[in-house]
C-alpha cells in the first residue's frame, strides 16, 4: 500500500493541544485539502459506554459530504472499526428516548461535523495519530464514489417517496406503543391514588410521591389566573373620584401626563432636529 510506504518518509504533524493534523481531499486530483484534527477521546466526566476512552478517536472538522460510511471506510486503514458517530458539535451523546422510525426523525444539519470513531483495539487510535500529513485521505475514489451535487439531490428526491402502507405501519406501531405507555402510566397513577386511600383500618400511607409531586397537577397558568382574579376583585371594590382628594389627584395626574408627553415630544424634536429632519427640501 502506497500509504504505508510513505509513512516512514515523513512525520505526523502534531499541533499544540495534542491534535494530529490529517489532510483530507475530496478526490485524488483535488487542488485543496481540508485538515482533519484527530486525538484520542479524553473526557474526564463522561460515563458512557458507547465511547470507551482508550479506543475512541476524536475527529474534528469533517466536511459535509463525508457520511458515517465514508469515515469508517477512510479510517479503517488504521485498524478495524467498531462504530462511528458523527455529531454537529462535540459533546455527550444524546440519550435516545425511544426508537423512531426513519420517516419521523428530523433531518440532520449538513454542516461540518465532529466524529467519534471507536476502534476494536487501542492500536487503531495510535495508528491514526501517527499518520503523516502529507498523505491525504481521499474521500471519493473510483471504487467508492461519493455522490454530491445534482446526483445526490436526485437520489434524495427519489428516496423521499414512502409507500403509504409502510408509513401507515410505522404510524400504527408508534401509536400502539404510545397507547400502551399511556395505559401503563394511567395504571401507575391509579395505584398511587389507591395507596393514598385509607386501608381497612383507616390508616393513610403518606409518601413524598414519585418526584415530590403534589396530589393535584398544577400549572403556571392556573396560578397566574388565580392571582389576576384576586387583583380584579380589589380593583372592582375601589371607588373612583369619590373623595375630593381623589378628584384632585386625578387632575394632577392629567397634568402630569400632559407634561410627560410634552417632555417626550421635546426629546423627539431634539432628536429630529439633530438629524436635520425639518428641512422640507
Amino acid at each position: 500500500m502506497a500509504v504505508s510506504k510513505k509513512k516512514h518518509a515523513s512525520q505526523p504533524c502534531v499541533i499544540p493541544g495534542g491534535f494530529t493534523v490529517l489532510d483530507l481531499k475530496c478526490t485524488k486530483n483535488s487542488p485543496a485539502a481540508h485538515q482533519l484534527f484527530v486525538k484520542e477521546h479524553k473526557v474526564r466526566l463522561e460515563k458512557t459506554a458507547s465511547r470507551p476512552l482508550d479506543r475512541t478517536l476524536f475527529v474534528l472538522n469533517i466536511p459535509p459530504y463525508c457520511t458515517e460510511d465514508v469515515i469508517s471506510r477512510l479510517f479503517s486503514q488504521f485498524g478495524p472499526i467498531q462504530s462511528v458517530e458523527l455529531k454537529d458539535k462535540p459533546g455527550n451523546p444524546e440519550p435516545t428516548e425511544q426508537k423512531l422510525s426513519k420517516y419521523f426523525t428530523l433531518t440532520q444539519k449538513q454542516g461540518f461535523s465532529v466524529g467519534y470513531i471507536v476502534y476494536s483495539k487501542p492500536s487503531g487510535v495510535s495508528a491514526a495519530k501517527a499518520h503523516p500529513q502529507n498523505v491525504p485521505l481521499i474521500v471519493s475514489t473510483e471504487n467508492h464514489p461519493v455522490k454530491t451535487g445534482l446526483q445526490k439531490w436526485i437520489h434524495q428526491y427519489s428516496q423521499s417517496f414512502v409507500q403509504p402502507d409502510t408509513l401507515q405501519q410505522a404510524v400504527d406501531s408508534f401509536m400502539n406503543d404510545y397507547d400502551r405507555r399511556k395505559e401503563e402510566e394511567a395504571e401507575r397513577k391509579k395505584k398511587e391514588a389507591e395507596q393514598q386511600e385509607e386501608d381497612e383500618e383507616g390508616w393513610v400511607k403518606v409518601t413524598k410521591g414519585a418526584k415530590g409531586a403534589k396530589a393535584r397537577p398544577h400549572s403556571e397558568v392556573a396560578d397566574k389566573r388565580a392571582l389576576q382574579k384576586e387583583g380584579k376583585k380589589t380593583k372592582r371594590k375601589e371607588l373612583l373620584n369619590f373623595y375630593s382628594w381623589q378628584h384632585r389627584q386625578s387632575q394632577r395626574d392629567h397634568i402630569a401626563e400632559l407634561r410627560k408627553k410634552f417632555e417626550e415630544d421635546k426629546q423627539k424634536i431634539a432628536l429630529l432636529r439633530a438629524q436635520r429632519k425639518f428641512r422640507p427640501y
Binding site: 491534535f19 472538522n61 454530491t148 439531490w153 403556571e220
Partner: protein, 1153 residues
C-alpha cells in the same frame, strides 16, 4: 484573508452609522449637535429615542398659569404637542437668518445705486436695437416691426416689492423682487396697443442689463420671465462670490402706477390689432377685433405690484401669524410642485388667499399660523374658483368688470383688491382642480390621528412620477403649433402673443378630460417652467422648452372597462360623441336591446386594460390636435415588462393567479365534502403567496412530457433524470387544513406528529378514490396534483403549538415556555394563513396590489435580498403603501406603487431624506382591516420604544402582531437593511430618471441587475440546471427543454414537485459555511450565487474544538490559531454543487489569502 479595499465591504460596521447630514446649500451651517441638555443622555447612541424618565417630583409640581394654558392649548388644538413643535421647527428651518437679511439688504442697496446711475441714451426707433452692444433683448420679436421711439433714462424709482418686504420670503432659493419704475418720459399712453409697451419694457430691461453687466457688484446676470409669461421678462441677479445660488435678485421693470387707466385694460377690450399681428392689411370684415384678456391682464399686472404690497402689508400688520401661515402654505405648495412656472399658485397668490380669508372674516386675526394654514386648505378644498370666483375688491369702482366678465374670459377667477385684475389669469382649470384635490387630501389626512400628518403634509415631496399612476410627456412642442391651427385658436394665440404651448394647453386638457371621463380622478400637468437664459443670448424659442408632463390619477373602478358606451344612436348627443371619438365611434347593439354609439378598446389582459388611457390619449390627440403618437411618451406600464408571465399574452400574472385561486377554491370545497374522516375539518386556508396574487412567478398549469422523466416504481410518480436539464419547477401551493379539536388528539408532540401523518395518508386515500387526484402523502405534508398545479396540504392541530410550549419542571409544575419550534409552527399554521386571506382581501379592494407586490419582490430578489426580507414582510410593506398612502392616494398602477415602495425604504441619501421611513425610531404599523384604534397605535409605539434594543431592525406591526414583528424577526440585520436602503435609493434614482427624462436609455431592467462587484466570490451556475431561468430578469434566448408544456390534464402521474437544485445547494452551503460567509441569490431565475466573507470569521481564533468547521491551523510560538481554509472552501463550493456549478470565481482582486 485581508481586504485590499476596506470601503467596498457591504457588511462592514462602518455602514451602520447614519449618513451625516450634508451642509446647507446656502452655506449657513448650523451645529448638528443635539442641544446641550440631551447630550449626556444620548452619549451612547445619539439617534435612538429612549423611554423617558421624568421624576415624579418634576411631574407633580404646581403648574404656573402660563404653563397650564399652554398645555391646554396644545391638547385641544393639536393632536399632540409634537405637531406644534414640529411646525415651529419647520418655520425656523425656512426662515431667513439675520445674517442673510443683512446680506440681502446690502446687496439691494448696491444694486439700487447702480440702477440709479444708468446713463441716458439718445432716442431711437423701438425696432432698432443696435445701441445694445453686449446684450440681447429678452423678447421674441414676432411680428418684427413696431412703431414708437425709445431711449434709456435712469429709473423714476427703485423699490422692493413682493415677499421680502412683506416678510414671507423663505429659504432656500431666496428670491428678492426689486421694482424699477420706468420713467414716464420713456413710455407713451398709446403704447398699450400692439405690444409696444411690452417691447419698450423689454428694451428698458436690456438697457439695465447692459449697464449692470460691466459692474463688479453683480455675480451672474440672466434673463427669465415672470411665471413663464414672455411679455414680462425679468432680470435675475446674483451677488458675486461663492454663495451665488442662495440669493437671487429679480428686477421687474414697471410703468408708473398711473400710466394707464385700469378700465382701458378690461378683459373685453382688444389691445392687439389683427392686421398688425398677421401683417395682412385687410381687416376682417364685419367684426371688431377680438378681445385680448390675457394680454390686458399682463399689462395691467405691471401697474399693481406696489398697491398689492401695500394691501398685504396692511393685512400682515393686523394678523400676527400671517407671515408664518404664508410660509407654511409656500412649503406645502412647493412640495407639490405647484409654486413655479406658468399658471402656478405661487407665494404671492398664497398671501392673497390668506388676505382674502382675513379680510372677509372667514378667519380671525388672532388665529395661530397652524389654524390659518388649515383654514386656507379647507377653503381651497371646498371652493371651486373655476365656477365661483372670489374678489378682494371691497368697493369696486363702476368701471371694473363683473365676476361673470372674468369668468367668461378666464378659467380660474380670483380678483385683486383693485377689482380690475384677475390674479389667476393664466391658471388652467386642471391646475386648480389639482390644488383642490391636494387640499382636500391634506385636510383628510390631517384629521386622521393615527398618522404623522406633519410628515405627509409638509415634509414629503410629491414629484409627478411618484404621485400619479400614469404619466405621459409631450415632446416636440413644435407640434403644438399645428395643434393651435387644428383647434382654430388664432385669436387666442394672438392674445398669448404667439406662445402656442400656453395657448393650446387648456384646450388639450379639456379634450383629454372629456375623453378620459370617469377613468380618472385627476388630470394634472406640470407647469411649463420659467425659462432662464443668459443676457448675451436670444430668448429660447417656445418649442425649445422642456417637454410638458401630464399625470393621471386613475379610478380603478372604471379602469378595467374596455367599452366607452355613448348615447343612443338617435339622441342629439350622439353627434357630439361621434365628433369626440371620430371614426372609432361605432353603432353597437347591446344585450339589453339598446343601440348606442360606443367605442371599443382592444385589451385582453388586466395589464393591457390598465393601459387603455394610453390608447385614448394618443387617439384623441392625433384626431383633434394633429399630435402624432410619436410625440407622446406614455409612461404607465414600463415596469410591467419584468413581471410579465407569458410573453405572448402580455399579462402581468393577474389572470394566472386567478386561475390558481379558482383551482384552490375547488380543492377546498372538495376537502370539505370528504366523508369518513376520523375528525372533521374545521378550516381550509391557503398559506401561499400565489393565493393572494403576490407570487412573483405565479404557477401556471402544465402538462408533462413523460419521456423526459424516470419513474418511481411503487408510487405513480415521476423522477428527475440524471444528466438531463433540470425539470420545470412546480411550486407546491401550501394549504393548511385544520382538524377539529377533540379529546382523541394525544397530548404529546411525537404522537401528534404521527397522527398528522396518519391524516395525510387518509386524506390521500380519499382524494384518490373520490376525485382521482394523484397524491403523495408524507409524514409532514400531502402533495396533490390537480389541474396542472401542485397543492401541498398540511394538516394542523390548533393546540399543537401549546403542547410544544409545555414543559414539566422537576417539581411537577407545568410551565409554559415559548420556544422557536412552537413559534415557527404557529407562524406556519396560524399567522401565515391569516395574512394570506387578509391580503387576498386587499387585492379585491386594490386591483394592482398583487402586481406591486410582485414588482417589489422581484426587485428584492434581483438585488439578492430575498433571504433578508421574506415574502410576507415584503407583502406587508406593500400593503402599508396601500393602506397608509399619505400624502398620496393608494396606487392604481404597478409602476407608481413600486416607485413608492422604493421610496419607503431609503433614508440614506440626502435628496430624499426628508420623507423616508425612520426604521430605527419608529415602528411601521400596517393597520390591516383597520382593526387598530388610536389607543392601539400609542400602545404599539410605547412598547416599541420601551424595548427597542431587543426588537428586530425592521419592525412591522400588524393587528395580530403588535409586539414582536414576527416576519422580520430573523432578518434583515442592521447592515443588510442599510445596504437594502442604499440600493433602493439608487434604483429609485435610476428609474425616476428614466421615467422622466426621455433622453435616457429605456431599460428598466437596469434597476433589476445587481451590482456584483461588492462580493468576494461568485459561483456561476449552469443555466440548464436552474429550473426558473426562463423567468429571470434577463431570460436566455433558447430555454432548455424542461419536459412541461402549458395546459392542464386531469389525473395522470404525480410530477416532480418542489425539486429545485439551487435551493438545495444553497441550504447545504449555508449549513456548511454559514459561519464563514454570507450567500446571496436571486430565487427568481438567477444564475449567480454571490458570496461575501464574514470579516469576523477571518480574524485568527485560538484553537477551539467547538468551532473548527472548515478552518485550518497555523502554529506560531507554540500557539495554534485557526483561520478559514479558503482554498478548501472554494473547492468545496464546486464539490457540493457538482453538476450544477459552472465555475467558482474568487474575486481575488478584492482580498488575498
Amino acid at each position: 484573508m485581508k481586504r485590499k479595499v476596506e470601503e467596498t465591504t457591504t457588511d462592514g460596521d462602518n455602514e451602520t452609522e447614519s449618513i451625516e447630514p450634508n451642509l446647507d446649500e446656502d452655506g449657513d451651517e448650523r451645529p448638528t449637535k443635539a442641544p446641550k441638555g440631551d447630550s449626556k443622555r444620548k452619549a451612547s447612541n445619539p439617534d435612538l429615542v429612549r423611554p423617558l424618565k421624568v421624576s415624579n417630583k418634576d411631574l407633580y409640581k404646581a403648574p404656573t398659569p402660563e404653563e397650564l394654558n399652554q398645555l391646554k392649548e396644545t391638547e385641544s388644538l393639536f393632536h399632540c404637542s409634537l405637531l406644534k413643535m414640529q411646525m415651529e421647527e419647520l418655520l425656523k428651518e425656512v426662515a431667513l437668518s439675520d445674517n442673510k437679511k443683512r446680506l440681502v439688504d446690502s446687496f439691494v442697496l448696491k444694486i439700487t445705486e447702480l440702477l440709479q446711475s444708468v446713463p441716458e441714451s439718445s432716442v431711437v426707433e423701438v425696432s432698432d436695437t443696435t445701441w445694445l452692444s453686449k446684450v440681447e433683448v429678452p423678447f421674441i420679436l414676432v411680428p418684427k416691426s413696431t412703431k414708437g421711439k425709445f431711449h434709456m433714462e435712469p429709473p423714476a424709482s427703485v423699490a422692493l416689492i413682493g415677499s421680502y418686504p412683506l416678510g414671507t420670503c423663505i429659504k432656500p432659493r431666496v428670491a428678492v423682487d426689486l421694482m424699477v419704475t420706468i420713467p414716464s418720459s420713456v413710455i407713451h399712453p398709446m403704447d398699450a396697443i400692439n405690444q409696444r409697451y411690452s417691447r419698450k419694457r423689454a428694451l428698458y430691461l436690456a438697457g439695465l442689463a447692459e449697464h449692470l453687466l460691466s459692474s463688479k457688484e453683480v455675480g451672474t446676470l440672466r434673463y427669465s420671465c415672470l411665471h413663464g409669461n414672455r411679455l414680462r421678462p425679468i432680470l435675475l441677479l446674483t451677488p458675486p462670490g461663492k454663495n451665488t445660488s442662495s440669493l437671487t435678485l429679480r428686477i421687474h421693470a414697471c410703468p408708473p402706477s398711473d400710466f394707464l387707466k385700469p378700465s382701458h385694460l378690461n378683459p373685453r377690450k382688444s389691445k392687439i390689432q389683427t392686421e398688425w399681428y398677421t401683417g395682412i392689411d385687410a381687416p376682417q370684415p364685419g367684426g371688431a377685433d377680438t378681445p385680448t384678456p390675457y394680454y390686458n391682464s399682463t399689462v395691467l399686472g405691471d401697474h399693481l405690484p406696489g398697491a398689492h404690497l401695500q394691501f398685504l402689508s396692511a393685512v400682515r400688520d393686523q394678523c400676527g401669524a400671517f407671515k408664518d401661515a404664508v410660509a407654511l402654505l409656500k412649503v406645502w405648495l412647493r412640495q407639490r410642485e405647484l409654486d413655479q412656472g406658468s399658471g402656478c399658485f405661487g407665494g404671492f397668490l398664497a398671501s392673497m388667499l390668506l388676505a382674502y380669508l382675513l379680510t372677509s372674516h372667514k378667519v380671525s386675526n388672532h388665529m395661530s399660523a397652524y389654524q390659518l394654514f388649515r383654514n386656507a386648505l379647507h377653503f381651497l378644498a371646498s371652493t371651486d374658483l373655476t365656477e365661483n370666483g372670489i374678489t378682494l375688491a371691497r368697493n369696486p369702482d363702476s368701471k371694473a368688470p363683473s365676476l361673470s366678465d372674468f369668468h367668461s374670459a378666464f378659467q380660474v377667477v380670483f380678483v385683486d383688491p383693485s377689482g380690475h385684475l384677475n390674479l389667476c389669469a393664466d391658471m388652467t382649470t386642471q391646475t386648480y382642480k389639482q390644488i383642490q384635490h391636494e387640499a382636500s387630501l391634506s385636510v383628510r389626512f390631517w384629521d386622521d390621528p393615527t398618522m404623522d400628518g406633519f410628515q405627509a403634509m409638509l415634509m414629503t415631496p410629491k414629484p409627478l412620477v411618484r404621485t400619479y399612476d400614469h404619466v405621459f410627456q409631450l415632446s416636440g412642442l413644435a407640434k403644438m403649433q399645428s395643434a393651435c391651427k387644428k383647434l382654430d385658436l388664432f385669436s387666442e394665440l394672438m392674445d398669448h402673443s404667439g406662445n402656442y404651448v400656453v395657448t393650446a394647453l387648456p384646450l388639450l386638457l379639456s379634450l383629454l378630460q372629456r375623453g378620459l371621463g370617469e377613468r380618472i380622478h385627476v388630470l394634472a400637468h406640470s407647469l411649463p417652467s420659467d425659462p432662464e437664459w443668459p443676457v448675451t443670448s436670444e430668448p429660447p424659442k417656445h418649442k425649445d422648452q422642456p417637454p410638458l408632463s401630464f399625470g393621471l390619477l386613475l379610478n380603478p373602478d372604471h379602469l378595467v372597462s374596455v367599452l366607452e358606451k355613448g348615447p343612443a344612436a338617435d339622441s342629439p348627443k350622439a353627434a357630439e360623441f361621434r365628433q369626440l371619438w371620430g371614426d372609432r365611434s361605432e353603432l353597437r347593439r347591446f344585450q339589453d336591446g339598446s343601440i348606442t354609439e360606443a367605442v371599443l378598446w382592444e385589451a385582453s389582459t388586466t395589464c393591457l386594460k390598465r393601459l387603455v388611457p394610453q390608447q385614448i390619449i394618443s387617439h384623441l390627440l392625433q384626431l383633434h390636435a394633429d399630435i402624432p403618437p410619436s410625440c407622446i411618451r406614455y409612461v404607465g406600464g414600463l415596469l410591467d415588462d419584468v413581471i410579465i408571465v407569458r410573453k405572448e399574452s402580455c399579462g402581468t400574472g393577474e389572470e394566472e393567479s386567478l386561475k390558481v385561486v379558482q383551482s384552490y377554491d375547488d380543492l377546498s370545497r372538495k376537502l370539505w365534502q370528504l366523508e369518513n374522516l376520523p375528525l372533521s375539518i374545521t378550516s381550509v386556508q391557503g398559506a401561499h403567496p400565489a393565493l393572494r396574487y403576490t407570487q412573483v412567478i405565479p404557477p401556471v398549469p402544465v402538462k408533462l412530457d413523460y419521456k423526459r422523466f424516470d419513474r418511481e416504481k411503487h408510487i405513480r410518480a415521476l423522477l428527475p433524470q440524471e444528466g438531463k436539464p433540470c425539470p420545470a419547477y412546480i411550486t407546491p401551493i401550501k394549504v393548511i387544513c385544520h382538524m377539529e379539536g377533540s379529546g382523541k388528539w394525544p397530548h404529546d408532540r411525537l404522537a401528534i406528529r404521527h397522527i398528522k401523518a396518519a391524516f395525510h395518508i387518509r386524506l390521500a386515500e380519499l382524494l384518490k378514490n373520490t376525485h382521482k387526484y394523484p397524491c403523495n402523502p408524507t409524514p409532514t405534508h400531502l402533495d396533490v396534483w390537480k389541474d396542472g398545479l401542485a397543492f401541498r396540504i398540511q394538516v394542523a392541530y390548533h393546540r399543537e403549538p401549546q403542547v410544544l410550549r409545555e414543559v414539566v419542571s422537576p417539581d411537577g409544575m407545568l410551565l409554559v415556555r415559548d420556544n422557536p419550534e412552537a413559534q415557527a409552527l404557529e407562524l406556519e399554521t396560524q399567522h401565515r394563513p391569516l395574512l394570506t386571506s387578509t391580503l387576498h382581501g386587499l387585492q379585491q379592494q386594490h386591483p394592482c396590489f398583487g402586481a406591486v407586490c410582485r414588482l417589489a419582490k422581484r426587485w428584492l430578489g434581483a438585488q439578492l435580498f430575498s433571504a433578508d426580507v421574506c415574502e410576507d414582510a415584503a407583502d406587508l410593506l406593500v400593503a402599508y403603501l396601500f393602506l397608509h398612502p399619505a400624502p398620496f392616494t393608494p396606487p392604481s398602477s404597478p409602476q407608481v406603487g413600486f416607485l413608492r415602495f422604493l421610496h419607503l425604504l431609503p433614508p440614506a441619501t440626502r435628496v430624499i431624506a426628508s420623507s423616508s421611513f425612520d426604521w430605527r425610531n419608529s415602528p411601521l404599523v400596517v393597520n390591516l382591516n383597520s382593526q387598530l384604534t388610536v389607543a392601539d397605535y400609542t400602545e404599539i409605539k410605547n412598547a416599541f420604544v420601551a424595548s427597542r434594543e431587543s426588537l428586530p431592525t425592521m419592525f412591522i406591526g400588524t393587528p395580530t402582531d403588535r409586539k414582536l414583528s414576527m416576519w422580520t424577526a430573523e432578518a434583515p440585520s442592521v447592515q443588510m437593511l442599510q445596504r437594502i436602503i442604499t440600493v433602493a435609493a439608487e434604483s429609485l434614482h435610476v428609474l425616476e430618471a428614466q421615467l422622466t427624462d426621455r433622453t435616457q436609455t429605456q431599460d428598466v431592467r437596469v434597476a433589476f441587475r445587481p451590482p456584483l462587484d461588492v462580493y468576494d466570490v461568485l459561483i456561476h451556475l449552469r443555466p440548464k440546471q436552474v429550473p426558473l431561468v426562463e423567468s429571470a430578469v434577463d431570460p436566455p434566448k433558447h430555454p432548455p427543454p424542461r419536459g412541461a408544456h402549458e395546459g392542464a390534464v386531469a389525473g395522470g402521474v404525480l410530477p416532480v414537485v418542489d425539486f429545485n437544485p439551487v435551493s438545495l445547494y444553497l441550504t447545504e452551503l449555508r449549513e456548511a459555511f454559514g459561519d464563514v460567509a454570507l450567500f446571496f441569490y436571486d430565487p427568481y431565475g438567477g444564475t449567480v450565487i454571490a458570496v461575501l466573507w464574514k470579516p469576523k470569521a477571518f480574524t485568527p481564533h485560538p484553537f477551539k474544538t467547538g468551532m473548527m468547521g472548515a478552518r485550518c491551523v497555523e502554529v506560531s510560538e507554540d500557539k495554534a490559531s485557526t483561520v478559514p481554509n479558503v482554498e478548501a472552501i472554494l473547492h468545496d463550493f464546486s464539490v457540493l454543487g457538482e453538476g450544477l456549478v459552472h465555475k467558482v470565481v474568487p474575486r481575488t482582486e478584492k482580498w488575498v489569502v
